[in-house]
């Protein structure tokens, strides 16, 4: 797994590539924590290049949601392949997460 981080205005964009499993999840967790600690309120994870995600990856993402709970922070996912989206759907998590079709949409402000 590879993660690259970019600042986009208010948001931090993390572009994730490769496979997310029990081996790579700790690294993903570290990247997400670092991004949260950088002070950005909005986190966008672009997952176009994620080839595989398992329940360890889902757990890591749920942890972020829980950390953000009660704060103004937001987490958005974008660009999920059908295989990755299927894992969210099978876990009933596709409604819990804010999943957007494109990176651009995920980086956009919501109408206030």
């Amino acid at each position: 797994m590879e993660v690259t981080r970019e600042k986009h205005g208010d948001s931090v964009l993390l572009v994730i590539a490769g496979q997310i499993d029990m081996y790579s999840s700790p690294e993903l967790r570290a990247e997400l924590t670092a991004a949260l600690e950088s002070g950005s309120k909005r986190l966008v994870l672009d997952m176009e290049k994620v080839e595989f995600i398992d329940s360890s990856g889902l757990a890591t993402l749920i942890e972020v949601l829980q950390k953000l709970r009660g704060s103004e922070g937001k987490l958005r996912l974008s660009n999920l392949s059908s295989g990755v989206l299927a894992v969210f759907e099978l876990s009933n998590l596709d409604q819990l997460f804010d999943i957007r079709a494109t990176r651009e949409e995920a980086l956009q402000d919501d109408p206030a």
């Binding site: 496979q19 499993d21 029990m22 081996y23 595989f52 398992d54 329940s55 360890s56 889902l58 757990a59 890591t60 749920i62 942890e63 949601l65 829980q66 059908s82 295989g83 299927a86 894992v87 099978l90 876990s91 009933n92 998590l93 819990l96």
Partner: protein, 151 residues
Amino acid sequence: MADEVRGIRVSIPSHPRFLAPVRDLAAWSAEQAGFGCEDTEAITLAVTEGCTNVIRHCYGGKHNERIDVDISFSTRALTIRIDDYGTFVDPASIHSRDLDEVRPGGLGVHLMQQVMDQVRYERNAWGGTSLTLMKHIQGDDHVLRSGELDG
């Protein structure tokens, strides 16, 4: 003997580093067996969840214990058996959390059950747990036909 070698068996240390090559082997096997892309992804997910649970729950995260993954083809199904060398766990104690109660973890068994046709825990010959994951091949467009592997 013929039946015994109608597939691949791989033994790995219980280190998460080895999940990726096992996944690759499972994906290759699924493709050989004639599964499409979606089913192949399902199978790699299930085998990952099964091995992850062995590392986490059976070996308590220890990295140098042994896991055997046995992949066998037939013309109608792909069967993956995951064997550990720990102590046998009552299958009744292995179940997913309630999906509505959102928390990290507790999804592996659920995912395996969703994507496979059979998920079965048994005691193995070494006193540990054997997890059998089976998926039927739909249609008859599969590559490995009866007898094709015979010498």
